[in-house]
Symmetry: C2
Subunit: 509 residues, 2 copies
């Protein structure tokens, strides 16, 4: 041992009062000495017996520390003569690294693009007026917990080991049966691909059906989540304009599409239902261009007059409509189970590609959901929710008209879990959303759904998840927010006369 190294080791100590075990303490001290260059490459460590005596510990403690340093390559064994710092190490290591760039590389252009269009964040602890959040008080959580625990105790291969990337077979069967009855979609279980929610489904189709630079038609205004997924996949977006009266399918400025994204059951955010003649025209356009259609049926279950309208997929004989569904709106949003219906001839490719993206839902939840559907709880819950939401929508609209009509105009919608409220000029919906947050209400501005055109301003109000007490608080919060932005205007109370002057604003066509 050189004099210098001997000096270094005099400062090595261990502390018996710490919870960290002694050999670990010793390992960490020696490691930091090496990294900091206090013991240089090639220098010998004291003999284990010597260091043990110095520290007043058992020799095994020192041996364990040396073994770990040896295993990690900090030291090497000298033939016949103990242990020395690895000769390959150029020290001081940490001092050298600190000279390196202290900041990491940047994201890719694609990564920046994806990060620039996130889903709107929620603010926890506020009244949640965001669209798409279902009622939770009446969800049968004890049943759900019981089914879940039953599956969680199983150790069989189907739930623990074997991962069919396209999903749990019994769930795929249950979804196919449900779609036939409820949405008029006929497909086999092999065509159902289960993923971690509708957003994952959109991300997957954007990559599997489009190459970078190809054209996708996106509704304008249209769903932000779809826009982000398509942009992330490198698509060139073209605006398929939508008004209250319908989709502008004949727009001559539209370039030939490779993919068309639509929400025919309840247009996001306008709430319009696509007419049959438009559906047939859309199918004909897609056939002409050999394009895919993505039908995002995010809440097609909820139509309050008559039966739900049959899905576009049910009219499609040429298998070019990919149906996207989710249980996040019908059960609860953090469940993270959605699915696609794909053509039989593409099912295997989807499954294989899915194994690369990792967007598969945990089998435990899939099995529990399959039980929940098969044992009738899902249908019963939907039925109950449909009744509840129709009443809530009526009450909510009445409340809005009474309390908010000076600033916002709402009208009934046959479908969906949210209501569009158009703002009277000159309100900016982002400013309103910010103000609402100050009054404890978390709302989503509609302008985020515009990309090409000057946005119209409004709020997409998810009334479905708020109970009678909460909805009153939420509307009062909105009212206070409007007043704070426009303090000169008195509260209109039951003044219905403002309605006609808003009519013009409502007409989007």
């Amino acid at each position: 041992l050189s004099r210098r190294s001997r000096l270094s080791f005099d400062t090595v100590t261990v502390d018996r009062t710490l919870k960290v075990r002694l050999h670990r303490q010793l390992y960490e001290t020696l490691r930091s000495y090496i990294l900091e260059g206090r013991i240089g490459a090639g220098m010998s460590l004291p003999a284990t017996r010597t260091l043990a005596q110095h520290l007043g510990v058992g020799r095994n403690t020192v041996v364990a520390a040396y073994d770990q340093l040896l295993a990690e390559g900090y030291v090497e064994a000298q033939s016949g003569s103990g242990t020395r710092v690895a000769s390959r190490l150029q020290s001081p290591i940490h001092a050298r690294q600190e000279n390196a760039l202290a900041h990491p590389p940047g994201l890719s252009h694609r990564g920046e693009l994806m990060a620039s269009q996130p889903q709107p964040p929620r603010s926890p602890g506020k009244l949640n007026f965001h669209p798409g959040f279902p009622e939770r008080a009446t969800f049968p959580f004890s049943t759900w917990a019981r089914l879940l625990a039953r599956n969680a105790r199983r150790r069989s291969d189907d739930i623990l080991g074997y991962q069919s990337f396209a999903g749990y077979w019994q769930l795929r069967e249950a979804i196919a049966e449900y779609l036939a009855v409820a949405r008029g979609v006929n497909c086999g279980p092999d065509q159902v691909i289960v993923v971690t929610g509708a957003q994952a489904a959109l991300d997957l189709v954007a990559r599997l059906l489009l190459d970078g630079g190809e054209t996708a038609w996106l509704e304008e205004p249209g769903y932000l989540g779809a826009r982000s997924a398509l942009l992330g996949g490198g698509a060139e977006l073209a605006a398929l304009r939508v008004h209250r009266r319908g989709w502008e399918l004949g727009d001559p400025d539209l370039p030939p599409p490779r993919l068309i994204y639509v929400t025919p059951s309840c247009q996001w955010p306008l709430g319009t239902i696509m007419r049959l003649d438009e559906r047939l025209q859309l199918l004909a356009i897609a056939e002409r261009h050999n394009a895919w259609i993505i039908e995002d049926d995010y809440d097609g279950e909820y139509r309050f007059r008559g039966q739900p309208v049959q899905a576009l997929r049910g009219l499609d004989l040429s298998q070019r409509v990919i149906y996207v569904g989710t249980f996040g709106k019908t059960l609860f949003s953090s469940l993270r189970i959605g699915f696609l219906v794909v053509p039989p001839s593409r099912a295997s490719a989807f499954e294989r590609a899915l194994s690369v993206t990792g967007q598969f839902a945990p089998l435990l939840l899939q099995a529990t959901l399959a039980d929940f559907i098969r044992e009738g709880y899902f249908a019963a819950h939907l039925k109950r929710m449909r009744r509840l939401y129709v009443r809530r929508q009526t009450d909510f609209i009445e409340l809005c008209r009474r309390e908010l009509s000076a600033w916002m105009d709402v009208s009934e919608n046959d479908a969906g879990m949210q209501i569009l409220g158009w703002l009277n000029p000159p309100f900016d919906d982002r400013a309103v959303a910010r103000a609402a947050l100050r009054y404890g209400v978390d709302v989503q501005p509609i302008s985020i759904n515009y990309r090409h055109d000057t946005p119209r301003h409004g709020l997409l109000l998810g009334y479905a998840g708020l109970d009678d007490r909460e909805i009153v608080k939420a509307v009062n919060g909105l009212r206070a927010a409007f007043q704070s932005l426009n303090p000169t205007r008195a509260a209109p109370a039951t003044n219905r006369r403002v309605a006609p002057s808003n009519k013009k604003r409502m007409d989007l066509s």
Copy 2:
């Protein structure tokens, strides 16, 4: 009503013995008549009273069917004179559609590429020798089920409504604490991004850190899942060759990287642990090129001599190492919870981009896992598994040497849940895997992990998940598979003399 339309309606009937409700039956019949062109555009439907009399049903039944057709756009109301088929419809619709292409469009080039490199599928019902599957018999499922049910009954916003896209905060805290103690990685909870497993993490980094055409170094042989994810992201791959003795970091043919993917704790598939001097050299290379490093620490918890080796991320002062971890190997593979550790300055961008890809794990499972870690069950389970696996590895190697040494050469490994068995020439590992399947054993050929070089043939044998009885059956199955491919060679029983002749084959350097 014209004579022709009257004739059509004579054939309309309903069947009271069916479970389908009468108005639904009537709707479906009329709908198919319209789609098939039996009732043309503009033609009148009978008055509701007339049709009700003809069918012998209540008038409300006909009104409900007409309302649904009206809602879906098949018919329109004529002012003052009943209902007619929508004049915009050009019939026959279905006959026209059947002339269209009966097959859907193709996948994108990217989609085809992703689908061409799937994760190796498992064969259910076979003895599972695939790498990466943990023991299940001793997993505390009743504890897990109890924690799960407890969380499933909660209705609070944190678990049902509010979705922080980067994960459940308490889980992120628990992971950060665990990493500091177990893997020598110091990070804050805000740097931990929870995703649906390690594959999702790889898919995410391939897109967020690389643009199409940029260079990624991938170990050769290297993990197929990483290769697929990087190719799916458009990366150009360069082979960072690995041998038993180490990583060829000085290879002059390697182009400048944008990203480097490595498995330093236990190289996949060779099992090598990266030496400290190699780790420092790798960090220096990444700094020189301002490249990212992806450290896939898929089973770094399992090292059987001494403590686990500290993660590469723990040595990195410039925040360019993205650490990828998973609970699929330590708990159970279908849990689908993995995570990344990212630089603080990039955490928000990762979270936002993740909201676009939908690769977030269900909050219910995240909350349950957080409880499982915080209440000490995870540490206890790991400790138990470490003891179990070290014994299983010893037994397994002894068994292989006794039963399979004529065909395959295995050696101990300090780390990991799988053992590499090199095949004696001229065996093709895919042929062996196919033969093994016939004898009830599902194994993974090593050649799938080669991309640039001629593959060496071997099996990556996941011994960890098989109990004493299963491992004997699995080895017997392999033995039978070898014999079926090479029937002239007698079983070597305890013939240890074959070992030396295999040594040369073992030396990969």
